[in-house]
Amino acid sequence: MNELVSPLTLSLTHMVISTADTFGVFAHVYVHEHDGREYLWKQGTQRQTITSTGWRMIIWVRTPEGGIGQAATDLSTPDAVIACFHQARQHTRISPLLAAGFERLQQLESRYPPLLTPDPDKLIWEKTPLLTQIEAHHRHVLSTYSLPALTTTLTLRRETCYITRSDGTTHRTSFFRGHVRDQIMLPTVGITHSFEHGATAPTLPELTGDLWISSLDEQIVHWHQTRQRADTCLPMPPHPRLNWDKLDLQLLMDIEITAHLLATWFLHQSDSVPHTVAHLQADAVEGALSYQPMHPYGYLLVPSAIVTRSGLDLAGLLALREAAAGHSFSCHLHLELPELALSELALSDHVNRSDLSAPVDPTTHPDHPHPFSCAEQASRHLDQRGLLYEEDFYLLEGVDRFHADPATGRFGLRPRRLYRYEQKRLVPVTPVWLTGSIESLMPSFVGGMSPTSDSPADQKSQVKPLSSVHPHLTYWTMSAPLYSYLHFAGIEQNERGI
């Protein structure tokens, strides 16, 4: 197993631990190494390859008095590493929340067995079938849609993580991460669209692109079809904007929107959560783009509930958020909501992840009801049970624009499609902005509806990375019910004429 970690890294971490012993402090050492390639295709030809390598050590020092200090270096020399240790040691401070985060990770780790990682083979980047697959995909997209400007970027990285602590615990892992992005520029209107997908695998040959390519193809087909179709929408009285803090609103939102809001909630400072039916869990999911089984505090990352019906694990949440800010860490967030009692609806296994990207036009799936028709049935069902108020019930699908300020917790979201419930059906209306403060999200969840399937892995839909809207969450992934149902009991306040 030692081949995974270079002898240099082993000797440097050993040096830190023994220096920590000398000074009578407890040290946590986290080393993240990566070796990667970025391939770029433009207008049908491969244009360039870029190599990159990186090494980063993060040292946490804990003193017997309860002080905690941290420092990091990206230079793998004995001098740099020792200087980094002393910087961490000299900058300790008492932080009960941080200490609680360490305790929490320690507790969780002790319940799980160590990681198993295969021995590495000699790495030959160009042997991966991904290169030819992605190139074929690039050319296919270019010729099918006669695009004036298409750029496809494939990023492949081998990442190695090694953690060691003064209590003698060590963990090591190595895996491959692949990420592909198609960027379409429409020069006549000056608008850019991006589509992305990715995954992780223990070895490079296991990282295959079939699933990515079909996902990207679907995203692009959907984009192309909605671009061509001019929606006939009704104008949007009575609200020029939906503010969930001010209006009584019932919203059915698709997974893409839920994921954007959830990520904003995750990044926003919030000490407590009022009562919620939501259950939010953080996990390192093998195969997901976000896979990263080690926390930079020097512990294994094991499944942990952040939000439950009984409350919030604040220490766990802050430990994850702190790691997100360091950029070399990613994680999978999984949201569970009580299943809306809609078992009689045709939410069978054909409503799977691929349908998420499909157009609303039901004629494209003549044999199956589309997720939209399920949403419409769900609305009628809620209506029959007297739970729905016309004109205040909206269905939101897709994200056209999303902006959030994690500092204030306020966000603005314009969905791609917006429907209002009128006369027993969902009527398309002109998409308007939905705004509000993110604190209202968790207590407003009522339930969710998801496809049912025999395979537990397919039960919840996953969404693509959110790095474009949340720069701190590069490669993070989320799963949530296909549609979430939220109820906001806002207070209308007329502030006109301020």
Partner: protein, 418 residues
């Protein structure tokens, strides 16, 4: 700042000049950005001192192929160059093989370096700050070099003062440490502002016709960059930018320049990533009679990298500057206006069409009535870049803490509020 790349440069020169037969290398060039930052309020629990390195190495091999490698500290300090591994990554490309000839003429003189900031960072001693503000001080060094003799270096500093109180919208950005007078101004402004209790409104877009919108330099930079700057740096949409500028020239009363030579401005730099002298370009100026409008050249050099990994690209959105006959001083100007809606920042898609109706998200705006703040709130702002750059009643406003002017115009001139 200590030179981190001296050995690395020697090794590369050696591989190109002494060991050509073994290395198979013909030439190299690289751009390196080194920076050291000190923060008065470290974010999270990271100790308040960060060193960063970024850059890109281009190798030209004897068979005419090239290879690209991201520069990291690990690579700069390696005992030997991984030439074998690099050789495996060669590819053919027409660009990249062009070298800037070292010029005998001196580079333009643009002061960017404040010794006070540099000393504070090196000694790790934060100077006295105005009350109520946190500071981030940075020293950065850029090197552009190639094996045909070019060696350019530049050192600069930057400072950012951010209010500790999130509800106060004014900070300070620049390359010079603020003077006593400026610090007193910032402190006094903060104390004055905090005397007024602000209500929160979500209907700031429904202001009266006479309300004046004031865009901060940062918000204005985002507007012009995403609607015009992006197109001026992309060969695919350059003609879109040209036709927009042609359309605007007869209507505007403003001058828009891309000027990287303004002393102490954040967008200033003396040479590009390839080693060319940077040049100022007038993008838009008032033309009263119909005449051929000059078409500005593509802002990024033709062999610019096709990726975004390389930090410090030649184009900087902060070098986009508006100018007009008169520039008003913020305090006096604000006092004379019955109602001003100040927009410190806004969010937009990566790029948008300059003449189309677009919607920007304003996370926090501040409404002033007769010079006093009354409320704040978030709202979506509908506009078109044409309506902003061609607004007949546009005024430029300067303020202590801004390194370029902001823009003010009546709200009724934007499509959304008319």
């Amino acid at each position: 700042m200590k030179m981190e790349h001296t050995d690395f440069h020697h090794q590369l020169t050696d591989a190109v000049e002494q060991n050509r037969r073994i290395s198979k290398l013909a030439a190299f060039r690289y751009e390196l950005n080194e920076s050291q930052t000190m923060d008065s309020a470290p974010s999270g629990d990271i100790a308040g001192r960060e060193q960063a390195i970024g850059g890109m190495l281009t190798l030209i091999w004897q068979d005419g192929s090239i290879s690209l490698h991201q520069l990291t500290r690990e690579l700069l300090h390696a005992d030997s160059l991984p030439l074998g591994e690099w050789r495996e990554q060669r590819f053919l490309h027409d660009g990249y093989r062009y070298f800037v000839k070292p010029s005998k003429a001196p580079l333009p003189v643009v002061p960017l370096f404040d010794p006070l900031i540099a000393q504070a960072v090196y000694r790790q001693e934060m100077p006295d700050l105005p009350d109520g503000f946190d500071a981030t001080l940075t020293v950065h060094k850029r090197t552009v070099t190639h094996s045909k003799g070019l060696q350019l270096e530049d050192e600069g500093t930057a400072i950012r003062l951010t209010p500790k109180d999130l509800s106060f919208p004014f900070g300070h950005r620049g390359r010079l440490f603020p003077s006593e007078r400026e610090m007193t101004y910032l402190e006094t402004e903060w104390q004055w502002f905090s005397r007024f209790p602000l209500s929160v409104s979500d209907q700031l877009d429904q202001v009266t016709q006479e309300t004046v919108l004031l865009f901060s330099p940062e918000a204005l930079g985002t507007l012009i960059h995403s609607g015009l700057g992006v197109h001026l740096t992309n060969p695919a949409s350059l003609s879109l930018a040209h036709s927009f500028l042609e359309q605007c020239a007869t209507k505007t009363s403003l001058t828009l320049r891309y000027d990287p030579h303004v002393p102490w401005a954040l967008g200033s730099q003396r040479f590009s990533a390839e080693g060319n002298r940077t040049a100022a370009v007038t993008l838009l100026s008032p033309v009263r009679v119909e005449k051929q409008v000059e078409k500005p050249a593509f802002l990024a050099p033709h062999d610019a990298f096709e990726h975004k990994l390389s930090p410090g690209p030649s184009y900087s959105q902060e070098a986009l500057r508006l100018a007009a006959g008169t520039v008003h001083h913020f305090r006096e100007w604000l006092r004379l206006k019955p109602e001003v809606l100040y927009i410190p920042t806004l969010a937009l898609p990566e790029s948008y069409a300059p003449w189309a109706e677009e919607s920007a998200w304003v996370p926090e705006a501040f409404l002033f009535k007769r010079g006093r703040p009354v409320c704040r709130g978030a709202f979506p702002l509908s506009f078109s870049l044409t309506s902003i750059l061609c607004a007949t009643e546009a005024e430029l406003v300067s303020k202590i803490g801004w390194d370029r002017p902001g823009l003010a115009l009546p709200a009724r001139l934007l499509d959304s509020t008319s």
